[in-house]
């Protein structure tokens, strides 16, 4: 791990920023361009970048594969759960307005935030899972093979 000092330092600096940017895109998704899909991919990029530079083992210590698999499922459950909660409130599936019946548009905001959160979680999970699946199959590059 002596090689590529610049790469490693820059990556360490970037990872935090990328994650922050992902959250920005995530939480601005309900009223400006952005949302769960984009945020999820950006979030995953942070981890994939870390994995590319520091190796699969390092990133799997941060983000073990079993958590990734749970996240994939959790996001879908959050999405569907939002819809089911609307049904419990007596409205149609995914009728966000029900979250605030006196102020339908506020309810829409709340609902879309939850749904986007679900999408974001799943997309992050799926992207990292795909990276793990493919990277795990390739022969590992030693530090001297660069």
């Amino acid at each position: 791990m002596e090689h590529h000092l610049i790469l490693r330092v820059v990556t360490k600096l970037l990872v935090g920023t990328i994650i922050l940017f992902a959250f920005y895109v995530q939480f601005h998704g309900d009223f400006s361009p952005g949302g769960g899909f984009q945020a999820g991919v950006i979030m995953a990029v942070a981890f994939i970048l870390y994995g590319l530079v520091f190796g699969l083992d390092a990133v799997q210590q941060v983000f073990p594969p079993w958590i990734v698999h749970k996240l994939v499922a959790l996001g879908v459950l959050v999405y569907a759960g939002t819809g089911i909660w609307n049904m419990v409130l007596g409205y149609e599936f995914l009728h966000y307005g029900s979250l605030n019946p006196h102020h339908m548009s506020h309810g829409q905001h709340t609902g879309i935030i939850w749904v986007e959160a679900g999408v974001g979680i799943t997309v992050t999970g799926v992207m990292i899972a795909i990276f793990y699946a493919f990277a795990g199959r390739a022969p590992r590059l030693g530090d001297d093979d660069w």
Binding site: S32, P33, F37, I130, A133, F134, R137
Partner: protein
Amino acid sequence: MTLEFFLGHVNYWLFIVLMMTGFYIVVSRGNYVKKIVGLNIFQVAVFMLYISIGKVTGGTAPIFPTNSQGKIKIDPEIVYSNPLPHVLILTAIVVGIATTSLGLALIIRIREEYDTIEEDDILEIEAAMAQAENDEHGSAMGGRA
């Protein structure tokens, strides 16, 4: 067919060219990865078709501007592009990613089992397997399969 007709539909011409290119690659290439690449081009062509449908002449991004208090300000003068095809294509892109990654995952497993990802070689291996099966089990059919 005037020049205007041609230029006015340039997106659609390109869609046809891209689509047929992708389709041709899928059909003609023997390498499994190249087939997936062709499939991707084929799908991307469809994205282009949809996005072209959504374009409104002079239209801008369909986001309502907000004023300083954060209130939405709707100006009937502004023409917006149709956002629906973009939303549809977002879904189609996700489907495309899923298809591509599943296809590549299958290719990895095929490579592990067959040691090749060339269709010709694989067909040869499978023909040999079928021949062996036929030799072993074909007696029930009088040696034919």
